[in-house]
């Protein structure tokens, strides 16, 4: 593939490893939030959160997370992932182009 020319093959490999680590990191963070919102607030802590209400509405917090809040969080998580990963892809490509220019 274009990235593994002998001159900077190892540097490209390093860049790729860095890319993959960044990918794993953002995934871990977002999946943590996913578990926190859906499984945590919506289920595990729902009974405790139900003691609080969203001000100005009739929503008990735990019930709201189970019926609406978690879904909103899920949509935002995927949006964040798309934006971050597409930027990461671009940065990675720029890095490789710079290597090509430096030779």
């Amino acid at each position: 593939m274009a990235t593994s020319t002998p001159v900077h093959g190892s540097r490209a490999a390093v860049a790729l490893r860095r890319y993959w680590r960044a990918n794993i990191r953002i995934m871990a963070v977002l999946l943590g939030l996913w578990a926190l919102a859906g499984l945590g607030a919506g289920i595990l802590f729902a009974d405790k959160l139900n003691a609080y209400y969203i001000s100005g509405t009739g929503f008990p917090l735990g019930f709201w997370f189970a019926h609406q809040g978690s879904i909103i969080v899920f949509v935002l998580l995927i949006l964040a992932y798309c934006l971050y990963m597409n930027r990461l892809d671009k940065r990675h490509r720029r890095e490789l182009e710079n290597m090509d220019q430096e030779g």
């Binding site: 999946l31 595990l44 009739g58 008990p60 879904i71 798309c82």
Partner: protein
């Protein structure tokens, strides 16, 4: 115009549209047939995925389930949306980068084994068939309720439409038809919800209306929150409070397990996964997961509102009313048997959780059985309890207390006294939801048989033309088989559909995730994991549902695990078996490791693999 005339008009218009799209998108090669030429824009693919995903059950039954389950209904809302996060982060971009036709393709190539491929194909076909039979039945039900044609005729009309656009256009035809179907079904769901929300809470946004106060003209006082009022009515009548957590059999462990099984199962369902092969690039695969969930969330955020509105409206308009005061929608729907009234003789309707409840449904009773119950009940009333039989006791003993859950969505427009064209729109929406899901599943069946079995295993030398012909033939046969299942539903289908998620969670999900994120996992551990996971899950479900086995507590939990949630345990078993066997077996071959590397690489570093150039076997 009458409701029926409007319904005929909408159904004919929408079917005409689907056929027109099918003609415009007909295909000539297997790449177009299986993955729509990989040229579908992300937003359109997201919309098609949403329609593919939202079945007759999501459209017709889900709001009704939530309406009777209250808080615990959230398992369906969270479960069927949470899976998209897993899909977007863990699977979709990588599967697109891999760039083949089907899910068994990935499993077979990654684990370099025809056994793994065949196991994956069997799982895909089994899951898809149980699911598609339910959809065909849904088509028949909508036809028979709204157009008063025989349920069998309804199924056959639905089959004919799917047959035409699926064989002609394959994935391409199905994708663009699903885009149209999304609009039909979301309009049909939102319009009644908005109308009823304005009426009940004064908010044009049903999602916000759920947390609003009830209009003073309806509640009789101002400043009462809908949910608060609903909780009070529910407890007054002996039901559990609507927003209270963990009541009845739905304890924390079961809610957790079922929600997680549905989430993971969503991410493992073959007809959803295959959608991410149809887009242009990895970037588009990520965006299309986002669009899909956004479009799905429109319906899923509205469903809990529809559920609560209908719950309030139904109790309020029925409980304590005399025959003269009953709303007209009750009489219309009483004819269908979805809701029945067995009076205790005082002429006032009671709806409660206790023995004085007078609202029932006909359930699985035949018309003759039901009329026997009615006659005996009338005799019981006339003789003051000396003769006949109390219909309330008879129906309660059969488990048919309360209205059928499907009535919540189907009758909502009438409850809100909306125009007849809106009522007709719901019929077209229900059909769109059922047909779009059915066609997506049929394509998975077709590609599993014709691509994975016929081409990859049996006849690798088959020409492009032969493969396309086999693909079309199989999808045609699959439509017929699904239709027959719809007309003569085998008893197990309706019971098993709910468990397809557990099976997918316990089989595909761990195998694919480990295949991408671990280079070390080899063939034998993965295949053993799949077999252990799906074997355990299937055993538990079959034993509990068909042989009355006691649910297991695993010595840890207060209550046994609901068979719907056992997929969570099955998935853990799959992971555990695979990971503990891995050190005992050799690493995958170097070319497999190279393949994993190329799947992980960002797109610009190397072009997304084109199917023609993809490594064959």
């Amino acid at each position: 115009m009458s409701v029926q005339a409007w319904t005929y008009l909408f159904v004919a218009l929408s079917f005409g549209l689907y056929l027109f799209i099918a003609w415009r998108t007909r295909v000539r090669d297997t790449r177009g047939f299986y993955v729509a030429g990989q040229g579908v824009p992300a937003a359109a693919n997201g919309m098609a995925t949403a329609a593919d995903w939202m079945s007759a059950a999501s459209f017709i039954s889900m709001a009704g389930l939530i309406s009777t389950m209250g808080y615990a209904g959230g398992i369906y809302l969270m479960g069927w949306t949470g899976g998209y996060v897993l899909l977007a982060l863990l699977l979709a971009p990588y599967l697109r980068k891999f760039g083949h036709y089907t899910v068994p393709d990935f499993v077979g190539d990654r684990y370099a084994s025809d056994l793994a491929r065949i196991v994956a194909v069997s799982c895909a076909i089994f899951i898809s068939f149980t699911y598609v039979a339910g959809q065909m039945r849904g088509v028949g039900v909508v036809f028979s309720r709204f157009l008063e044609v025989d349920i069998h005729v309804g199924v056959i009309i639905g089959m004919a439409i799917v047959f035409i656009y699926a064989t002609l256009g394959g994935m391409k035809g199905i994708t663009w038809t699903q885009v149209a179907q999304y609009w039909v079904l979301i309009t049909a769901f939102l319009i009644p919800a908005i109308a009823i929300s304005i009426k009940l809470t004064g908010s044009p946004l049903p999602q916000a209306g759920l947390g609003n106060t009830i209009e003073p003209s309806i509640a009789g006082q101002s400043g009462v929150y809908l949910l608060e009022k609903l909780n009070q009515i529910q407890t007054d009548l002996g039901f559990s409070s609507y927003t209270a957590t963990f009541v009845g059999g739905w304890d924390k462990v079961n809610v957790f397990c079922v929600a997680l099984a549905l989430m993971v199962g969503t991410a493992g369902l073959p007809h959803v996964l295959v959608r991410f092969y149809t887009v242009k690039s990895v970037k588009a695969a990520r965006w299309s997961a986002f669009w899909a969930l956004l479009f799905i969330s429109l319906l899923y955020l509205t469903a809990p509102a529809t559920a609560a509105f209908a719950r309030y409206y139904m109790i309020d308009s029925l409980n304590g009313k005399t025959a003269q005061e009953l709303p007209s929608w009750f009489e219309n729907w009483e004819k269908t048997g979805l809701i029945l009234w067995m009076d205790n003789g005082d002429g006032v309707m009671r709806y409660s959780a206790g023995e004085d409840n007078e609202i029932f449904r006909s359930g699985t009773l035949s018309a003759a059985e039901l009329s026997d119950v009615r006659v005996a009940h009338q005799a019981w009333l006339d003789t003051g309890g000396a003769g006949g039989a109390d219909g309330r006791e008879v129906l309660r003993a059969r488990g048919f207390s309360g209205p059928d859950r499907d009535i919540i969505v189907l009758a909502t427009p009438e409850m809100a006294e909306l125009a007849s064209w809106i009522i007709a729109l719901v019929a077209a929406g229900g059909l769109a939801a059922a047909l779009s899901t059915a066609s997506g599943l049929l394509l998975v069946i077709s590609s599993s048989v014709s691509h994975d079995l016929y081409y990859r295993v049996l006849r690798p030398e088959a020409s492009e033309k032969q493969r396309l012909a086999v693909g079309r033939g199989v999808i045609g046969m699959a439509v017929v088989v699904a239709g027959i299942f719809g007309i003569y539903p085998p008893g197990f289908v309706s019971q098993v559909v709910a468990f397809a998620f557990g099976l997918a969670a316990a089989s595909f999900f761990p195998a694919i995730v480990l295949g991408i994120f671990s280079k070390r996992v080899g063939t034998v551990p993965a295949v053993c994991g799949i077999i252990a996971g799906i074997g355990f899950t299937a055993f538990y479900i079959i034993a509990c549902v068909f042989f009355g086995m006691e649910t297991w507590t695993f010595g840890l939990f207060a209550n046994g695990i609901n068979p719907q949630g056992i997929g969570t345990i099955g998935m853990l078993i799959n992971f555990a078996v695979t990971l503990s066997l891995t050190p005992l077996f050799p690493r995958p071959r170097p070319e497999i490791e190279a393949m994993i590397d190329s799947v992980r690489e960002p797109e610009e570093a190397g072009p997304a693999v084109m199917i023609e150039a993809a490594p064959e076997r």
